[in-house]
Amino acid sequence: MSKDGILTGEFFMMGDVACAEGAISAGCRFFAGYPITPATEIAERMAARMPQVGGTYIQMEDELASMITVLGASWGGVKAMTATSGPGFSLMMENLGLGIMTETPCVLVNVQRGGPSTGLPTLVAQGDMMQARWGSHGSYEIIALVPSSPQELFNLTIRAFNLAEKYRTPVLIMTDAEVGHMTEKVVIPPPEEIEIVSRRRPTVPPDEYLPYEAGDDLVPPMANAGEGYRFHITGLTHDERGYPGMDAETQERLIYRLIEKIRRNRDDIIQLEEHGLEDAEVVVCSYGIAARTALWPVELARKEGIKVGTLRLITVWPFPEERIRRLAREVKAFVVPELNYGQIVLEVERCAAGQAEAILVRHAGGGIHNPRKVLEAIRRAAR
């Protein structure tokens, strides 16, 4: 560890811990959270590490508070994060909405477990994927990244902070209990090799500053509290001054910009991993831990002579619509294993629009897919 508390090197590290270290490498210096299995190790690591890097850890009274404390810290000028699982994620939806509306950069990690309700606290699921997209009320776009290894959890936590700062929006990391609790080799590069993005700052004097006046990129520069800008921020529909505007026109202008600033940058945000798609007739489209359990059945199917490839979604939201649309014109079917009763498969089906079949390999959570079931689905798709 360097004098300023930053880790570099090779480690045998748990996913949750790698997430915390990724945050620290990204410049996160504030963590507010509430203990919850299977995300608690992130909080514990941050409680120990934040003081070593000059940051703050605070344990809040609940997840409603955790989420909005993170927003407050971000407006205080510090990169901030919280981490939770299903029940806490539900509580965070309220202030996730405030974060989107006020364009507050921050990162929210959901280490998914079985639900609904208390469900399976210690066991894996991927049942919150649609909640991630639609869980807060109103019309909005969200960015959600899904890692499938501790190393990737480390990498994507850095990326999440960079995207949050670049687009001024909360970014979700939708990992799961398997990846979060898995221990593997994690390589932490030296700080100078890590790309860090920070929020664009106002260049005008305070009396000319409009907190929600955006240029062509639709992302307004952000002043922090205490810098003399004396801005007003509200969760109400607001104009460029940040003042409430209770009319359809202001609403349309604001919501259009909030959505477009993400949609127009899909190419920058969306990250996919593709293998063997050149000649594929069947595409196994999956994400997170389900993408790892799909590797072996794909190998077996290839040995059987089935032309199958894989499309792993690293960015799930915004959804890679264009890639799925193009593939749908070339392949017979998509096989979608996910640890839920059908969420991302609905998006695949929507984008395939009848040109290719979308076959769900469902699992209610509590364990990972039986590879045989994925193999059977691939065989069925190839017929």
Binding site: F30, A32, I58, G72, A73, L98, A225, G226, R230, H232
Partner: protein, 286 residues
Amino acid sequence: MSDKQVVNLKPDRNPMDELLREDRLPHIWCSGCGIGVALTCFIKALQKSGLDLDKVAVVSGIGCTGRVAGYVKLDSFHTTHGRAIPFATGLKLANPELKVVVFSGDGDLIAIGGNHLIHAARRNVDMTIICVNNFNYGMTGGQAGPTTPAGAITSTSVYGCFEHPFNIPYLAAASGAVYVARWTALHVRRLEKSILEALHKSGFSFVEVISPCPTLYGRWNKQRTGLAQMQYYHDKGVIRHGLDPKEVDIGLHGEIVEGVFVDIEKPTFLDFCSAALAKNAETGGS
């Protein structure tokens, strides 16, 4: 008056203008409401405080009082219902140079935000809370809330309120606040003084402001005008500094006890934090 001391009877600027967003006025509050009085006292206290106003942030939740953040020319945040205090916690801990003031109503801070209030007080996070208590939910049309006196009529307690209200100073004191005061909107000089004291306090300071709501609460409870409610505060307000906050409940018809009930010192969250860090640096983290 000598001719050298001409008083401009129509000044261009109000002395409070530097701290108000004039382009947002007129405000939304009803005539007879006490929120404007509380805001005036706050601004006057701020002007006397000597604080660097660029480093003062106001955080509000939702409701009539929640609109205060929108009228002050400071870094100001109008957040979600009940969550002003945890937002303020993040702001303060991220930038300890800030003086953070939470300005919100009884429904916001005591009902939906009650859990955050008690925990921030317990942690002794350095912030000042100004809680305007008008005994009902004004913004939504006058429903009963956690401060509505038993027996009071509101739009959701049409047979009289069946619940016991919170005694707010007692709640704040029991939760750990280092400064707890209550004043009515009639007692403006004392209110301003208390806000000033609260601003200079290190730790979680709390000022309750009893406010008329003639449009809603007053109308149903035989105090139809702001003046009638102010008259009530005049007749029934009694000052008892240092009284055990346990004794300061407000009933439907009884007296309203005012004063500074708690004024103590204890380490804040950040005091503990920096003490631990200093120790850690000394021992090399062992």
